[in-house]
Structure formats: C-alpha cells, structure tokens
C-alpha cells in the first residue's frame, strides 16, 4: 500500500470524481469530496515524510521500468507542492457546501464537485509525474475543468472570463506541447530524468533553445506572469468564491513548479541562464509585475479584483526569487509559493464569506462590516497584513528570505524595490480596512435582513488558514527547512 502512494495521490481524486455521480445528494457528494481530498492530503503528508527521510521515490507505472514506461517521481520539491495543493483544497472544501448553496443552482452542485475533483487530479498529476507528455495531459485535465468551474459563476461576465481564459490557456498549453515535441525530437525520450541527461549533449542546437522558449512562454501564460496575466483578474473575480479561493492558492503554484522543474532539473542552470539571458528577462518581468499589478490593484473597486491583481504582483515576487539562480533565491521563491497559498486561500475564502452575507464584494458594500462581521473582517486584516509582509506573519518570512537572497547576490537595488513594492500593498489593504472599520454601516434596506457574522462552516476554514499564516510566521522551521532542502537538491548540494 505504502509503495503505491505516488499513484494513489492522483488516482484517489480521479476515481472519486465519477463516483460523485452515483451519490447524487449534494450534501453526501460534498462530504465524499471532502473525504477524497482529505485522503489526498494525508497521502501527500506521508509522501513528504518518506521523501525527507529516505530521498527520492521512483514509482513505475504498471511495472514498466523507465524510460520506456511512465515514471512517477517524488522528490522534495514536488512533495512540498503537492502538500500545498491538497492541503488548501481540503481546507477550502469545508466551506464549499455553504458557499455554493447561494452561488450555484442546486442541480449543478454535483457537477461542481466533480469538476473540482478533476481539477485537483490534474494539478496533483502535473506535480507528481516524471514524464513530460504526462504533464501536458494533466495540465489539460486541470485547465478544462478550471474553465468550466469559472463559467459556473452566477454573473454572465463569468462566461466571458472563462472563454478568454480558454483561448489563452489553450494557446499556452499548445506552446507547452510544441516545446515537449521539440525536446522529444532532439533526445528521443519523454522521461524527465532521461531528458536531463540527454539534453546537455545537444544543448548547443537551435532546436533546444526553441524548445525551451516555447515551453517557458507556455508555462508563463499559465503562471499569469506579467504581461501574460490578462486572463487572471476577471477569471478570479467572476468565478464562484470557492473556486477563486482554490485556484488563487494552487493553480499558479503548479505553473511555478513546472517553471522550476524544467529550468533547473531538466534544462539545467548552465543552459537556461548562461546560454540564454533568462536572468535579466525574468528579473525585469518580475519587478514590472510587482509594480504594475500592485498599482492597478489600488484603483480597483471590486475587492476580488484587488486581490486578483495582488496575486499577479505576488507572482512577480516569486519570479524575482527565481531569477536569482541561487539556492537562497530559489528557497525564497518556494517559501513564497507556500506562504502565498496560505494568504490568498485565507483572503479569498473570507471574501467568499462576505459574498455569502452581503451578496457583493464591491468596496462600497464593505462599509461598517468591521462591526457586522467582526471575525471575517479580522481574518481579512490578518491576511492583508501578511500580504504586506508585517512581522509575525508568513508574508514577512518570505520577504525576509527574498531580501536576504537579493543582498547575498549583491542586488541591493532589487532588495530595495521589493520593500518598496510592499508599500503599495499597504495602500490597497488600507482601503479595505478604512471602509470596513471607519465608515458607518449602510442603512439596512427595507425587507432585507441585517448583515450577520458568517456561519461556522466559513469561519472555521478561514481561521484555520489565518492561524496557519501566523503559525508559520512564528515557527518557520517546517516551511523553511523543506523549502531550503528542495532548493538545495535542485542545485545538487547535499542538504
């Protein structure tokens, strides 16, 4: 049983999805989905423990040995990312039943959970597989279910956001397919470990450069790296709240994983950063992303838009860490991947609670919510502080490591710009705090109920994520240890 964990990680949600059709009753389906996600979470904890103790696990699918068969390969990096995905998915699902009750018509509830599980399957698959073509297949599983999930939003703009995402996402996925095809053409293999050993022999050819560029552009589209982020804000703003909380915390992280995996383990640092000027490209795009997206976030009136643009900015921070090509920079990026999942999961889930009680996430509707929904708003404040990077929260930890890594590299202007970027976050978080705490509540409209605190089903997962924000801000041993170990293993340094 334990030997089969790598494949069970993917099979459990995959098989649970069609099983939902048999259950039919929404409440049952919800509990079943939660169970499947929890099992996936437990599996990823076990996998991470196993990897940290005994090193990389290689699983041969169907008993065919690699490179002929498909290999599932778990190392510190993907065990860590799988843990983030399944963990956030489980916590977010706790609130799902209460939230979609109001946002999605009853008859579509079962379909919602099926799509959710398929999306989870796709993401976990991308992360665990050791086969380049498998990555494409899982990417499309997660993307196609993502488009449908976004289209379930009750506003008609959700449909349009979903269509735009479909066009952009398919172009991105096709670019990835071209990249994989060119890699196969040059090496005759699709196994990642095999690719990594054979690519350096042909690294001087133009085909390999083209393969890398196609692949990276495709991944950056999925990652929503500035300026390829245009699909993200509307998709996040109009999707059902649960979907936004889930995707904001996980889907871009998967793309970040692909970027790291292909750049560092497969093409290798010397090819990606010495033959090609990727360092400057990523650094520039990362910094531009931080400033442009944070500035745009300040001028948004829909709070979901504010946090969506903030997500684009946070991806900028990750990419700045990535562009440093040092072990310290990479572990700062991985830490931020983990921490950002906690922040955005908490924030978007809290917005889901606001959506449930107020029915809107426009800034003007936040007036006086500090008094009407004290616990939800407190969660948004803590999440916001974490986003800014105030000490005692996880945001501080990742910014700290990022700045230290930049100084180590001798890039002190970058360290300054990272800190400056945080000030922009202060502005957009303050706008929410000001409206919620320092303005009187709107006069209740006749015939409409007074706004109440969110139900327990929401407060529990929101506060679980918020306390994780604080806990991992104080006790950094676990997250830092894993992130550093993963980064060091990519650089071939014995941990």
């Amino acid at each position: 049983m334990l030997a089969h964990l790598p494949i069970l990680q993917v099979i459990v949600p995959l098989m649970a999805a069609p099983a939902c059709l048999i259950l039919r009753r929404p409440q049952l389906v919800w509990m079943f989905t939660l169970l499947a996600s929890t099992i996936a979470f437990i599996i990823s904890i076990l996998l991470l423990q196993q990897v940290m103790q005994t090193g990389t696990i290689s699983y041969e699918l169907g008993g065919w040995s690699p490179p002929w068969g498909i290999e599932y390969r778990i190392d510190k990096l993907n065990a860590f990312i799988a843990l983030i995905i399944s963990g956030v998915s489980t916590v977010v699902l706790v609130a799902a039943h209460t939230s979609i009750e109001k946002e999605i018509p009853q008859e579509k509830h079962t379909l919602f959970y099926i799509l959710y599980l398929l999306s989870l399957t796709g993401m976990l698959g991308i992360v665990t597989t050791g086969d380049a073509f498998n990555v494409f297949v899982f990417l499309e599983i997660s993307s196609l279910s993502a488009y449908s999930l976004i289209a379930l939003g009750r506003d008609r703009r959700a449909l349009w956001a979903s269509f735009q995402y479909l066009i952009m996402g398919t172009i991105g996925a096709t670019f990835i397919l071209i990249g994989i095809g060119l890699m196969y053409q040059m090496t005759g293999t699709l196994n990642m470990v095999d690719l990594a050993t054979r690519l350096p022999e042909v690294a001087e050819t133009r085909t390999v450069t083209t393969a890398y560029v196609f692949f990276i552009v495709g991944v950056c589209l999925k990652l929503a790296l500035f300026p390829l982020h245009l699909w993200l804000p509307n998709a996040y703003a109009h999707a059902p709240s649960i979907v936004t909380a889930f995707f904001a915390a996980t889907s871009t992280k998967v793309a970040a994983y692909l970027l790291i995996r292909f750049t560092f383990s497969i093409f290798g640092v010397s090819f990606s950063f010495t033959t090609l000027p990727m360092e400057m490209v990523f650094l520039t795009l990362g910094l531009l992303g931080i400033f442009v997206a944070s500035t745009v976030a300040i001028y948004q009136d829909n709070i979901k838009h504010v946090f969506a643009y903030s997500s684009v900015a946070q991806i900028g921070y990750m990419i700045v860490g990535f562009s440093m090509t040092t072990s310290a920079g990479l572990s700062a990026m991985l830490l931020h991947v983990f921490n950002h999942a906690l922040m955005k999961g908490a924030l978007f889930l809290a917005l889901g609670a606001v959506m449930l009680r107020v029915g809107s996430t426009q800034l003007k509707d936040f007036q006086g919510l500090g008094r009407q929904m004290p616990l939800t708003m407190a969660a948004i404040v803590v999440g916001g502080l974490s986003l800014i990077g105030v000490p005692l929260t996880v945001g501080f930890v990742s910014k700290w490591y990022l700045v230290v890594a930049a100084l180590e590299k001798g890039w002190w202007p970058v360290a300054g710009l990272v800190l400056l970027g945080s000030l922009l976050a202060v502005v957009y978080v303050w706008r929410i705090v000001e409206t919620a705490y320092f303005k009187a509540p709107l006069a209740p409209i006749a015939g409409k109920e007074q706004v109440k605190e969110a139900p327990m089903a929401f407060l529990l997962p929101v506060w679980m994520l918020v306390s994780a924000n604080v806990y991992f801000g104080l006790d950094t041993r676990l997250s830092v240890e894993i992130a550093t170990a993963a980064a060091q293993s990519l650089f071939g340094v014995a941990p």
Binding site: L166, I178, Y184, L190, K364
Partner: protein, 129 residues
C-alpha cells in the same frame, strides 16, 4: 532550395500555425476564434506526426520481410492531444452558446463593451457614498 524542400513539413506546420494564431488574434467572432484555435492545434499535430517518419520506413505494423518501421510513439501521443483538442473545442462551443444566451451576441467587441458599461454603472452607483 533544400532549406525549403527538404524541410517542407516544418514549413507547412509554421504556415498553418501562423494562420491559426492570426485568426485567434484578429477575429472578434467567437466561432472563428475557435476555428483558429483548431488550426493552431492541428499544426502541432502535424508536427508531431511528421516527427515519427523514418526515411524508408513503413507503417509500424509487424510483417515479414520488413525491418524498417516509422516511429509510432509520436502518433500515439498525438492521439491523446487530438482528444484534448476535441474536448477544448466542445467546451469552447458550449461556452459560446451560453454567451449568446447571456449577451445576445457572439462578437468579442460587443461583449466587452457591455461589460465595460456594466462596470461604469457600478462606479456611478458608488459615487454618492
């Protein structure tokens, strides 16, 4: 000359790819966009299929007296990608139907204009407070 004739399969792929890409970018009609996306994806399918060709090799079906076969692996891979392409097209068309129901049009600019207007109205509402 050998640059063009010797590598003709790649040229076909590139031309098809650019046609598809152009249609996606230039046309506002959603169905045409989906058609463009299909052409774009098909070019990649042809690329994969032509990769598997071994000079002088026949179809990879076992038969006596034949020793040289084309590489079947890219064909198998692309079978999967074709299925993915069909799923994407189906989903795109389904979304187009829903968009037509919700907006009454399937023109990109008109939909965008309606959304922008909705956004402006929200701003106006928020002015008095």
């Amino acid at each position: 000359m050998s640059m063009i004739l010797g590598l003709y399969n790649y040229w076909i792929v590139i031309v098809l790819m650019m046609i598809g890409f152009y249609i996606i970018i230039a046309h506002g009609h959603l169905i045409k966009k989906i058609v463009g996306l299909n052409i774009f994806q098909t070019s990649v399918f042809i690329f994969y299929i032509s990769l598997g060709k071994v000079e002088g090799g026949t179809a990879p079906i076992w038969q006596e007296n034949i020793t040289l076969y084309s590489n079947p692996l890219p064909h198998v891979l692309i079978l999967t990608a074709i299925v993915v392409g069909i799923a994407t097209t189906a989903l795109g068309l389904a979304l187009t139907i829903r968009l037509k129901e919700a907006y009454g049009t399937i023109d990109e600019d008109e939909i965008q204009a309606m959304d922008n207007q909705a956004m402006d109205n929200q701003d106006k509402e928020s002015q008095p407070c």
